[in-house]
Symmetry: C2
Subunit: 459 residues, 2 copies
Amino acid sequence: MSTVSMTEIVDALREAREAHIEKLKDWLRIPSVSTDSTRKDEVRRAGEFIRDELVDAGFAVRLDETPGHPVALGKWDGAPGAPTLLVYGHYDVQPPEPLELWRHGAFEPTVEGENLIARGATDDKGQALALVLGIGEVLRRRGSLPVNVTFLIEGEEEIGSPNLEPYIREHADELKADIALISDCSQFGPGLPAITVGLKGLCYLQIDLTGPNRDLHSGSFGGAVDNPANVLATMISRLKDDDGRVLIPGFYDKVRELTDEDRAAIRALPFSEEEFARDLEVDALHGEKGYGTLERKWARPTLDVNGLLSGWTGEGAKTVLPSRAMAKFSMRLVADQHPDEIAEMTKAFLRELCPPTCTMEISIDHGAEPVLVDPTNPWLAVASRAVERGFGKAPVMIREGGSIPVVSVLKQVLGIDTILLGLGLPDDNAHSPNEKFHLPDYQRGIETAAWLLEEMAGS
Amino acid sequence: MSTVSMTEIVDALREAREAHIEKLKDWLRIPSVSTDSTRKDEVRRAGEFIRDELVDAGFAVRLDETPGHPVALGKWDGAPGAPTLLVYGHYDVQPPEPLELWRHGAFEPTVEGENLIARGATDDKGQALALVLGIGEVLRRRGSLPVNVTFLIEGEEEIGSPNLEPYIREHADELKADIALISDCSQFGPGLPAITVGLKGLCYLQIDLTGPNRDLHSGSFGGAVDNPANVLATMISRLKDDDGRVLIPGFYDKVRELTDEDRAAIRALPFSEEEFARDLEVDALHGEKGYGTLERKWARPTLDVNGLLSGWTGEGAKTVLPSRAMAKFSMRLVADQHPDEIAEMTKAFLRELCPPTCTMEISIDHGAEPVLVDPTNPWLAVASRAVERGFGKAPVMIREGGSIPVVSVLKQVLGIDTILLGLGLPDDNAHSPNEKFHLPDYQRGIETAAWLLEEMAGS
């Protein structure tokens, strides 16, 4: 049994505050832009950095090669019979462009007040390092952990993790765990720590309509032959009604409805529709009738056109009756909709909508499963207590409209749920210039990670 | 009084057949591509060529400068009291690209069987020269014409005649005439000479919708804020119903309905909907319910999307909720619709259709008046008799879906109708590789032009 108390560990973590900030700055100086093939070496260096940090804390560590960037795998499994926590993070970052909008160099981390500014500060180096440092400190001080912990830190998240699912499948035995932890998201707002319990899924399609076999003169042929751009517009208009309801037959069949409790919890959150509209500079918001904006963002499936292209799109007038018209559109799904089923329903409906005057090709570009953690999942309570310790405040349960594909991979391959514990803030500018991380939250995240082990062991 | 009979003139024209073909070939060798600013000198040379031809025939000729390419103006006004004919043509040609699809050089005119192949063969050098040669021969042989004739041959038709309307306004007195003649179109088919009595007008608009002030993540924001691409599709879909009827209030108010006689005449023409569909490779044609394909092409107003652009249009999936969406669309108008009135109606309807979730900008790019020559116009009968002399067959009266803006300029500025006498054939590949002109029709056109003066004088 360890003789080092959590009070001592938290004191040590607080004393190391400046050193931890310097460590994060060192990591952020490595421009690990995974989309940029000329930076392959620097991406690897960022992987080696976190590998070394895990080694230093006392984990058994490997840097595993993949067809792309390597995976840093760190394990401590000295607590047989105790639960196992799998921590996921990523060491690659978004491209920094447009560079001219940064107040400092994107890879020259700079403290401004309580924030650290740099590409990757919040997404995900700052959040991932908080978990490594908090858990690492416990191992360093005590020589052991109260539960087993595996770190899986990849370098391809910003390019869609092409090699992650095969890696997880191949190493499923080593990665076996009871619960996963990811800090790659946000709190609900300043002073409002949150655990994200729902993520939307995705079904992305492209349709290509062909009418006449060549672009035609709209004077000579208009009215004589159907125009695929008009047909496309009509088809798209028939996918949703004016109340924002998707009209694809069967679309809502498997949607898990919000309970009265869910709706009350969402209503209790501080959210201003007026401010939200003002930020987007729209006179009116719009979405499925009967649901508030947060409900629609988090818990209702949606359909959006992502791209349209047909005919002449340059300057001025060209009187072409186009031969082809293209649309990309996608549906964000909620539990328990399945992307493949939704794709089939959508294809069938599109075929019904497409008139005999055009031929249509449909391609499915992308799918992701929705995620919804059962509110009675006991690990939620465990994580909540840890957040209460680390942040001094219990987290609210929120959902996200985006997808984090690794969460459903972990569910499918390893059969485990994920605690999405956001340490960032909604205005952190992830993917934008002047990305930042709020340093007090960095500290709270480090402490929360240490507490989590304690809470897991005691549960 | 002339002592040279029409028989003698026609004999002379037939004897000169080969010389006339050589003359056309000489003109076609000049690459007078008006869109190509590096060919400015060659465009001018083509204007000088036809100027010289008019001088040679005995006309009083000027090459008038404009801000662009010059106008060749030829006049013979020695028949006071007799009617005046204004002949319009153009000496510029379309670009020849794609060059690799030509069987011979585009500017190396080559006879294949009964056809002469070259850029400009039918559009419009061949047709324009036929009129100059036929009328010129009469003047050459007799030293006088039975009516007054003015030739107006411009060099900017293929770039939209930007300087023609100001030129006509400035020279309105000199251009005063009783009727205009243009040969820059087609017969109905081989052996079916035609006079085009109707042209459609045009009202061309662009709408730009803006939703949120920036492109958004379709996961985080989908369902919370309206998507301008979806809105655009819905707005477009509401411009026409499934029966192809335009839904803009008031759109049909001024449409001159086809009479029973009009419809019978159209039905009497040899036209195969099956062949038309086969050529376009569509399984079904489509257009306003209650009208046949030719009726829709010629005599019914239409609405077509000409361009669509929004969001991500490259390869693959990008889950963007676009900030903006753009459509270009145009309506082809028939007598007595007015483009400005239609534009106002359309703008008002679009404003009704646009929801408060988006802002909309509408721009009017282009307008043209429809043209419909009264079937009782006496010059139609005169021209018909001339065609019957020249082609051995009376022409059918047809309409075109396209616009020929000069026709409405002549109507507005000079107050005269135009006889559109097509010498070409529908498959002449105007604007395409291997443009051709059917040489027997060249000869018939030359003779018809000579006969037209005789018929005008006798009417």
